[in-house]
């Protein structure tokens, strides 16, 4: 065990996988000599050399397009897209190609690879270093989508992702890259994709959340507790495939669900969660499923803390479902 932050845990996980599987390569912009703009890949170049730790031309479409070809041929690319805001030049390659190879070839070809990309706001990054694009990818059949919220999970989920048979979009909540700290075993372990984790138990309200919003939700739950409200916080961890059983068992217990995410409200993942709860747990509900999310505006610069769900806004959501 060692105390690590998210960056250290991810670096450790990538290193272990590269040692284990010689077909693994890491590729992206500024990831080799610099170690990535957030330093997640620090030191990998020294250990694994330039054939396996590759500074690419500045071309997200090229990184993802060539990674697909590498994966088709049997190499295991770990791709870094420097900010998830920059992923769109590669969007066609992800949505029309990466996600569909297995299907359209009748199962003859597949391209298992991981695209790691920092996402979310709260770092004074403005419009182009803060967005949360997970819904675009969850909406695309053929992709798995993961977002950890602490170092232990980040390592275990990453090691599952990089060994999965299918492509995984691995969102890293950059706001808590360094703030999230915890004990992480130095040896190899995995956390299965598709399993949520109850971060705090409670029986009156369920908060469904992921990524950096887990931290805000836990703070809101603590404050609610001081008001005598017992809030359960479910960290989804994998968004697709979703741990529907964990969602339903918590909501059936509490009868109240508040969904918290940074991404804009309209067609955000909260809309899907809300619809699933309505379809599968309607008789258990004491109040309408409620969403506390980013607003339907472009991500702002000066007013980002007005935009982002805060413990105070989450408490309002809790209050609403408690007094409906």
């Amino acid at each position: 065990m060692a105390e690590m932050n998210l960056i250290g845990a991810l670096n450790n996980a990538i290193r272990l996988e590269m040692r284990r599987n010689p077909s693994t390569v890491v590729m992206g912009e500024d990831i080799a000599k610099l170690g990535g703009v957030f330093r997640v890949t620090t030191g990998l170049l020294d250990e694994f050399g330039p054939e396996r730790v590759i500074d690419t031309p500045l071309s997200e479409g090229g990184i993802i397009g060539t990674a697909i070809g590498l994966a088709l041929y049997g190499v295991r690319p770990i791709v870094e897209i420097q900010f998830s805001d920059f992923i769109y030049p590669g969007y066609d390659q992800i949505v029309n190609e990466l996600a569909k190879y297995r299907y359209r070839s009748g199962g003859q070809y597949s391209c298992p690879l991981v695209i790691r990309t920092p996402s979310g706001g709260g770092i004074k990054g403005g419009h182009y270093h803060s967005q949360s694009p997970e819904s675009y990818f969850i909406h695309t059949p053929g992709l798995k989508v993961v977002m950890p919220s602490d170092p232990y999970d980040a390592k275990g989920l990453f090691l599952s992702s990089v060994r999965d048979a299918d492509p995984v979009i691995f969102f890293e909540p950059k706001r808590i890259y360094r703030a999230a700290k915890g004990d992480v075993p130095e040896e190899d372990y995995t956390i299965p994709l598709g399993e949520a984790k109850v971060r705090r138990a409670g029986d009156q309200v369920t908060l469904l959340t992921y990524g950096a919003m887990v931290v805000e939700s836990l703070e809101a739950a603590e404050q609610a507790n001081q008001q005598g409200i017992e809030v359960e916080v479910v960290d989804l961890r994998t968004l697709l495939p979703l741990d529907i059983e964990a969602v339903l068992s918590s909501v059936k217990k509490t009868g109240r669900a508040v969904i918290v995410h940074e991404a804009p409200k309209t067609c955000g993942f909260g809309a899907e969660l809300s619809a699933l709860i309505m379809e599968k747990a309607f008789p258990y509900l004491e109040a309408p499923v409620t969403r506390v999310t980013g607003f339907d505006t472009p991500f702002p610069y000066a007013l980002e803390h007005d935009y982002l769900p805060s413990p105070a806004r989450i408490l309002k959501g809790i209050d609403y479902v408690m007094h409906y």
């Binding site: 054939e51 090229g62 397009g65 070809g69 041929y73 066609d92 297995r102 999965d164 299918d166």
Partner: protein, 362 residues
């Protein structure tokens, strides 16, 4: 033929890659098969027996001549008109037709429109219709081959990638991206541009102000060669030189000057946008007629052989059609297979809904 890049290790002399008589006859027969197959399929489309078709009429030399320069272990990233490369490389015609019908015999499980063929047995990779996406992927697979060689420290000759696309694709970002990666990382790939003068209704002049497509290679640091795409002997010779260069670990861009003699696809009508006289001019340079003239001048072909070939091909297509047509659609549950390696709960639920085995789902 114009070399658009500084002298390289491309051997275009023509001496090294001479074809034997039986090889020439084989290529001629393949081109004729492709022509007749396209005619039959367009006929089936007009009769409503298949939904869609994209012929390679006029481009047979470019497809067959270039694919013949490959070895079995090499990979092909095709565009719309290179399905016949699979036939050349041994894929059975009846299975090919099952793909066109999208029926239960289709190895792709009816998931793609006609002419989006692929099969692992011939290393032909699945194609997506969004133009140009295969180009960076081809560079990536070539990178994988290079990486594999480095990893295994093998001295045996490694495979290479052949990547096909039209001149319209060179306007897409993916062309530049793929070529750039191939140049920067020096990848074993041949980029084969079928410049057939038309991208549906838009002429080649509207795609680029470059005098040639081939010269674009210069900007990415590797040679580009423009060739007569209707002369199968030139296509083979130049492609073979580029393939050998790829085997030595280097990329090349080839531009085959050719002509789409028919419509873009069965859904298109070229009378709306191009002068019929243009097609008549190009018909004088029909790649199959050009090859036949050469065979006749060598005294190895006459009307007698032609008649016999036509009968053989017609029977071959009819036999394959009888095997392929009329088979049922793929079973309903295959709709949900291969989205992921293992089916997640939400797809299992939706499959049960389609099959009517779970009335509880909405």
């Amino acid at each position: 033929m114009t070399i658009e890049a500084p002298p390289s290790d491309l051997d275009l002399s023509g001496e090294a890659y001479a074809l034997a008589s039986e090889e020439i006859l084989f290529l001629y027969e393949m081109m004729t098969l492709v022509r007749r197959l396209d005619e039959r399929m367009l006929g089936l489309q007009r009769q409503g027996r298949i939904g869609f078709y994209g012929a390679c009429t006029g481009q047979e030399a470019a497809v067959i001549g270039s694919a013949f320069a490959l070895k079995k272990k090499d990979w092909v990233f095709p565009g719309l008109r290179e399905g016949a490369a699979m036939l050349l490389r041994g894929f059975p015609l009846s299975l090919y037709l099952c793909q066109i019908f999208g029926n239960e015999g289709d190895l792709l499980k009816g998931r793609q429109m006609p002419c989006h063929y692929s099969d692992r047995s011939v290393n032909q990779v699945s194609w997506g219709s969004c133009v140009g996406t295969q180009i960076p992927q081809a560079a990536g697979a070539a990178w994988g081959m290079k990486f594999g060689k480095e990893l295994s420290h093998e001295s045996r000759e490694s495979p290479i990638v052949m990547c096909y696309f039209g001149e319209g694709a060179t306007s897409e970002a993916d062309f530049h991206v793929g070529a750039n990666f191939a140049g920067v990382f020096n990848l074993p790939v041949v980029f084969f541009c079928q410049n057939n003068q038309w991208s549906i209704s838009v002429s080649r002049d509207r795609q680029t102000a470059s005098p040639t497509i081939a010269q674009k290679a210069l900007a990415y640091g590797f040679p580009g060669v423009q060739m007569d795409g209707n002369d199968i002997f030139e296509v083979y010779r130049v492609t073979r030189a580029a393939v050998e260069r790829a085997r030595r670990g280097n990329p090349t861009l080839l531009e085959a000057l050719t002509y789409r003699m028919g419509a873009h696809t069965s859904s298109d009508d070229p009378r709306l946008y191009r002068d019929p006289q243009e097609a008549e001019e190009w018909a004088k340079r029909d790649p199959i007629s050009m090859c036949r003239k050469r065979l006749e001048s060598q005294g190895i072909w006459s009307q007698k052989e032609q008649d016999s070939l036509e009968t053989r091909i017609s029977d071959q297509i009819s036999r394959a059609l009888r095997k392929a047509e009329g088979r049922p659609s793929p079973p309903g549950k295959t709709l949900f297979q291969d989205v992921f390696a293992e089916m997640p709960w939400h797809l299992r639920e939706q499959m049960a809904l389609l099959e009517g085995t779970d009335n509880a789902c909405v």
